[in-house]
Amino acid sequence: MALLLNRKYGSRLECLYYILTSCYKKFGTTETFALKDLKFDPKDDKNVHHYCKQLQNILDRQCCPYLNNPLNLSKCYATQSVDSDSTKSKAVSDIGGSLEALGFITRIDTRKYKISNDGEKWVKSNFNSKEWEDIARKGVLSYGVIIGFLNKIKELSDDFSYQGLYLSYPHTTEVVEYETADHTKTYIQISTDSQQDSNTRTLSRLIGWCVAVGLIEPKGVRGKESTLAHIKYQDFLNKEELTVRNFKKTSLCKTLFDNKLNIENPLSYSRLHKNAESMRENGGEDLRKVTLQYKPKILDRRFVFIYALNHYSKLNQSLDFKKLIQVMQNHSDKFFSKGNDPVSIMETECEIADIAGIPFKIEQDSFFYAKTTINENILTQDAPITSIKLAKEIIKEMETI
């Protein structure tokens, strides 16, 4: 399962490498582990401090350079510690999500993971080697959201700035009637998109990963003498914050879409919408309730679109978008709220394709040619059977028109 990563903890591939190394030393590739097993444990003689090369010696104490207080009991900024309270669990959750997005760990069931073959190869490779970078690049390019980012910057000049880029959930204008707790009827616009700070964090992370594996280069940064991007730009990558706005595409980046890629780690069904359960935007509780109420429709219409796009991509055919909407309208109650135009909704919702890892080009206004195929097993991994059946039904109906 891959998700839209929007936290800072897993932004540095080097940190992920040391954490995965620690995990490998304890569990290998045969034993399962939970995310809490990745947290720093001072009693563990294989904790990440035994492998991390980034520790700073401050007054004879070995400290993680990313902790605000180096003496914090968390000990590792990325995973926090077994002694940290539950509010810090999002750190290790982000680390797990990052490693899964890269394909270096695989989910066995809801809370159990194993290190994958690629994860093992990465851990066993030398950090200062081409092999390390090649494996990292393979992982990075397997993550659907990265493909969406690379597709967005494809349209920009070779020297580009990432400011103004939006790579998160589509902002769909959808206003619905809602009854408040005191039985007043009102109209609320559903929250379908991501907040700006979330988008900024996502972009920072993607840029960091792309620089580390040689897809883009930061402008105005000299770097060390090395042909390996993750070594050349190590100081830049390991800064606390992204300090550069302008980048340059490498030749690898520019030729990426010359052939159709297959994306191993696209977003899964449940990740095609943000986590509305933890919404804390302005507008408060009512907005959260309404968004949750319509979440199944939002998920299903995004899923059906991606599923159909992928279906036709695998056949090297285009998706007839007009036909898709026409058929979806026949099942309107499953996808759309009353009083909102399905065409307008879908014209915005199709932007989900970028972060889902299946960007497309449009020909003759309505024919969508996907630039990739995606791993359908991951897309449907946590999809309700009814949603998968619905998607297949939609495609079948499209074929009869």
Partner: protein, 207 residues
């Protein structure tokens, strides 16, 4: 700052107070008010790892940016602290509550100063940035970097105060938003005080 201010001191164990401080962390408000023992988190005084201890004396390294925090925390130095409330010092405490706590322990001796203080009950703000207990006065300090959040946090902290006023009627509670001096003019002072470090020092009654 004079980088050679240190004359050396003997510490029975560990690092001297100019290098390492202890700050209560993650305590509950009840624990602070009731005088319960609090968990103390270690904090390096220097935010730039610009210190070395050589033969019992503090040696300040080149990467120091003269925030003066080590100078302030040295127990052997008597000085007018208000002359040291610089932009650099404010940046340090705004980025690190532990260092803020250590600074305030020096500025307000005989008080309890704790950071990231937990609140019982169902509040959106689950932690108060910094709490100072001075006799029966309890100060809730919110470190504010931007003006647009002032109403949100003021409301949140006042909700907490309402609860605790009932639980501890013999105490007075005060909500303060602490801002950087450079930004002070742009803040509108609402019903709760918006202060910079210098104002706070006068308001609470510093050393």
């Amino acid at each position: 700052m004079n980088h050679n201010f240190c004359n050396g001191c003997s510490t029975s164990a560990g690092l001297p107070k100019c290098a390492l401080g202890l700050a209560p962390n993650n305590a509950y408000i009840e624990d602070i008010i009731n005088g319960s023992p609090l968990f103390l988190m270690e904090n390096f005084i220097c935010h730039r790892a610009a210190q070395n201890i050589v033969e019992g004396k503090l040696k300040i390294l080149d990467q120091c940016n003269d925030c003066d925090l080590c100078y302030i925390t040295c127990p052997y130095i008597e000085t007018d602290y208000t002359t040291l409330f610089s932009d650099r010092l404010e940046k340090v405490i705004f980025n690190d509550f532990g260092k803020a706590s250590i600074l305030f322990q020096v500025l307000f001796p005989n008080t309890v100063v704790a950071t990231e203080v937990q609140v019982k009950g169902n509040f959106r703000t689950k932690r108060i940035d910094l709490v100072i207990k001075k006799r029966n006065e309890i100060y809730f300090i919110k470190f504010l970097k931007t003006i647009d959040k002032i109403s949100f946090y003021t409301r949140s902290y006042l909700e907490v105060i309402e609860q605790y006023k009932n639980l501890f009627p013999n105490y007075t509670f005060k909500n303060i938003c602490l801002v950087n001096t450079r930004k002070l003019d742009s803040f509108i002072s609402v019903e709760n005080d918006v202060l910079n470090l210098s104002n706070l020092y006068s308001f609470i009654g510093g050393k």
